[in-house]
């Protein structure tokens, strides 16, 4: 009497079918769920005479709709997309604040130079001087504002790294736990579909965070997971944690290390996914932006200060520094792994030579090597000060004591300038609009020679030439030569006269042109009471056009423009990459989902299908029952 038992197997199979459909429908929105399918097989038939009688159906397995190739494609695109998406988010934070040219640094620096033009037009006006100080403070506020914002982004990156590292560790240990559970089940020959889905999803999440590679053990099916650098996060049933700790150089900067903290993993773009994007954004964009802005601040401060100190203020005193000096702002960090206590000090010597790169300084075999991190250019010398001079990167180096071989230092020349810009003077009369020396022509001269007003040589930086404002007299002995009298000149006689040629004494330069007559006298002396003299203001206003201020071939504003263009281009490019990766990811997911996703219409049809099977199976049992009743009634 096999009809009943056949009916029963059919009923059970239909029930399983309904359960599978129900499970699929229930998980239609479960992330990482892969559609399950009932796989049926016929029971072994029973021989009966010369034929076999079928014995119904059994459930061979419930399979998981899974395509290895498609899954791998999704996973690759996911880590790429997460990388670009995260990178773009960082970039947009900078891109958005650099957007408005009417309120940004550009507008502030334009107003600053306008104020010096105004000073040139109105040298003694206190309101004009006050306005100039206001414009200078606005430039400083603008740079510091942007600098502080960038610094807060650095803080954000630090906490992002810490957060990502903790998520990565928790996923890695989760996957290791899953490996243990799954391998135990798999070894018994079963397929724990839902656990597999969960582990896949965890691996996919981990991949998004760290750009990992999964190597599946062919026998146990265990996931071994590696980071791009080769660091193994998950090996069989155990996880190897990573850690977020301070950089050995800069305690305010978080880096990624192995579990013990001895091996730094965050080097040279060796990490993918969101963590890699955060690290790469920091080194490629954020650091560079800070350095570029810092360099602009240093160049502005040094150029204006240099010229300002050659001038003379409204009280007749020599000009002081206009902006706070940035000379001592370069940072030099000693590695915490150094075995000596040597401290390196860096200082700006020529802001126009500064680059936007950071530098590493290492010491071994008695030789210091300075390495420019942006392009790997390096210089070596046994003397650290000579090394800095030879490298000519705009900063000097000195060291407190001899380091030990293997000691390393990180030099960040420009970064700190972004938050330390300030105007050094608050008294408007202290603005040096005038020049300290002036020339006069004796009224009794009979020749036609004309003298230009002396300009103080830019090389004459404080301490100024002691005889700068000493009275110097040129007396022509004829049309071709003159005698010089005055402290600091050495009183030369019979100096050959060249019309229009430079005449330099005591730190100033002027020209005499035309035809002098014997006995003609020109006098150079201190500028006293010259409240309308605007020569120094004109010189500072002209710095706006100075193409040598930044790396010898850029004006301040063109350097800023270059930075904005770089940010804009990078953001644009990253956005294009992000969109392209999004498209690729969508396509890969669509392909993967067409295999593994749940379609509710399909499940509805299957539901009806298994419902009908169930009803038909029940009918078999009912028929068997009726047959049995018939037999019983025969006996009655």
């Amino acid at each position: 009497m096999s009809t009943l038992s056949i009916g029963l197997t059919a009923l059970q199979a239909a029930q399983m079918g309904l359960d599978t459909v129900g499970h699929n429908i229930a998980n239609v929105n479960t992330i990482g769920f892969r559609r399950q399918q009932l796989v049926l097989a016929t029971n072994d038939p029973v021989p009966s005479g010369n034929s076999f009688i079928g014995q119904g159906v059994n459930v061979a397995t419930i399979s998981r709709s899974y395509n290895d190739f498609l899954e791998r494609q999704v996973s690759q695109n996911e880590s790429q997309f997460s990388y670009f998406d995260q990178y773009l988010q960082g970039l947009q934070q900078i891109n958005n604040v650099m957007g408005d040219r009417t309120v940004g640094f550009s507008a502030a620096i334009q107003k600053f130079f306008k104020s010096w033009n105004d000073l040139a037009g109105n040298p003694s006006s206190v309101p004009t001087r006050q306005a100039a100080l206001g414009a200078a403070n606005a430039v400083a506020d603008n740079i510091n504002g942007l600098g502080n914002y960038l610094e807060s982004l650095q803080g954000g990156i630090n906490s992002q790294i810490t957060g990502l590292v903790s998520k990565i560790n928790s996923l890695a240990s989760g996957i290791a736990g899953m490996n243990q559970r799954i391998s135990a089940i798999v070894s018994s020959g079963l397929s724990p579909n839902d656990l597999l889905d969960q582990r896949d999803q965890m691996a996919s999440d981990l991949n998004k965070l760290a750009g990992t590679t999964v190597i599946k053990d062919p026998t146990s099916g265990n996931f071994n997971i590696f980071m791009a650098s080769g660091y193994q996060l998950v090996g069989e049933g155990s996880a190897h944690a990573i850690s977020a700790n301070s950089s050995p150089y800069d305690p305010t900067r978080t880096e990624v290390f192995d579990a013990s903290g001895s091996l730094q993993l965050s080097v040279n773009s060796s990490i993918g996914g969101q963590l890699g994007a955060a690290l790469d954004f920091r080194s490629n964009v954020l650091d560079l932006t800070q350095n570029s802005l810092g360099r602009i601040a240093m160049a502005l401060s040094q150029s204006v200060n240099d010229q300002h100190q050659l001038g003379q203020d409204l009280n007749g005193a020599a000009g002081g520094v206009f902006f706070n000096s940035m000379t001592s702002l370069p940072q030099a960090f000693a590695s915490s792994k150094n075995t000596s206590a040597a401290v390196v000090t860096a200082a700006v010597v020529d802001a126009s030579q500064l680059t936007t790169s950071d530098y590493s300084l290492s010491f071994s075999a008695g030789v210091y090597t300075l390495n420019r991190l942006s392009d790997g250019q390096s210089w070596s010398n046994a003397n650290v000060a000579t090394l800095a001079t030879t490298a000519a990167q705009g900063f000097s180096l000195s060291i407190s004591a001899a380091p030990n071989a293997g000691d390393t230092f990180l030099i960040r020349p420009t970064s700190a300038a972004t938050t330390n810009m300030g105007v050094a003077i608050s008294d408007p009369s202290k603005i040096a609009v005038a020049a300290p020396v002036s020339a006069s022509t004796s009224a009794a001269n009979t020749g036609t020679a004309q003298i230009t007003q002396p300009t103080v040589n830019t090389s004459n930086q404080p301490p100024l030439n002691a005889n700068l404002t000493s009275t110097v007299t040129f007396t022509f002995t004829g049309a071709a030569a003159f005698d010089v009298v005055g402290a600091g000149t050495g009183n030369p006689v019979g100096v050959v006269y060249t019309s229009g040629g430079n005449i330099t004494y005591n730190g100033w330069t002027l020209q005499i042109s035309g035809t002098p007559a014997a006995g003609d006298v020109f006098t150079i002396g201190p500028n006293t009471g010259g409240t309308l003299d605007n020569r120094n203001a004109l010189a500072i206003a002209a710095l706006q056009n100075d193409k040598t201020m930044i790396s010898g071939n850029n004006t301040l504003e063109s350097a800023y423009t270059t930075l904005v263009a770089y940010i804009g281009n990078t953001a644009d490019e990253t956005s294009i990459n992000q969109k392209a990766q999004k498209n690729l990811l969508d396509q890969a997911q669509q392909a993967q989902q067409s295999v593994s996703g749940v379609n509710l219409d399909e499940e509805a049809a299957n539901l009806i299908h298994y419902q009908q099977s169930y009803q038909a199976s029940a009918q078999i049992i009912k028929t068997a029952n009726t047959l049995f009743d018939t037999l019983l009634s025969l006996g009655g």
Partner: protein, 301 residues
Amino acid sequence: MRISTAFSFQMNTTALQSRLADLNQVQQQIATGRRIVTPSDDPVGAAYALQVAQELAKSSNYTANITAAKTVVNRESVALDAIRKVLVSARSVATGAAGNPDTQTRTQDANYLQEIYQDLLGYANSTDSNGNYMFSGSKGSTTPFQQVTGASNYQGDNLQQSIAISNSRQIPINDSGQSVFGVGTANDPFKVIDQFITDLRNGALTGTAFDTAVSTALTGLSNAVDTVVNVQDQVGVRSQELDDAQTAQTNFTSQFQNELERVESVDMQKAALQLQAQQLSLQALQQTVASTGKLSLFNFL
């Protein structure tokens, strides 16, 4: 191809978001009137706009400098004209005195010249609207000419104030008292007039000696007028250069403004059409999502 229900909803959401983002971009452009809202919208354009804005700012600086300089030059021009007229009056007194006048006329002339001397001193010590002396070189707060017996006593200096009128050109905008009045030379009008007053009042000075005095005064004053006229010519040239520079800078300014407009501004018509097209496409998508979302076999079970 099988369609995953959840994924198809997800794709619809993504599509809706991206249409909304596009719409938002155009809306922002219309609201700000600018095509480039952040540098990434058009990196090349954004950098170019910064450069043009910088040139525009410089150009307006120069325009402001020129406007201020023109005021200074015009003021000096007016003062020079007055000085020239005073000197011409003094010269006609000297011309009139050539006819060997009587004592009373000589006294009248001397008194008249005394007033002229004061007028001249007044003009020479003219101040500008800020109270700075116009003819003291750079010593704006030092009275350039003080009345002393004999010659004028110039207290100013030789400095000329310059102003930048372009990236490469600075021009002087004033003249020192020394160059206007020939201080220290035989033609110093203060010295000449003062001497002539003394001579007119000196009754003992007659005949050839008086003729010589008149002729010296005439020569001195004529030369003094020439010196002023010479300075006036220079001021005229300066004024012309300022006018030319102003025209040039005004042209630059409007050219830079047009350029900025071209690079940065939104073509409103185009943007409005774009907005309409994007609204339409968003609506279409919304309707599609709404209607396909309702389709399910479960509705028929």
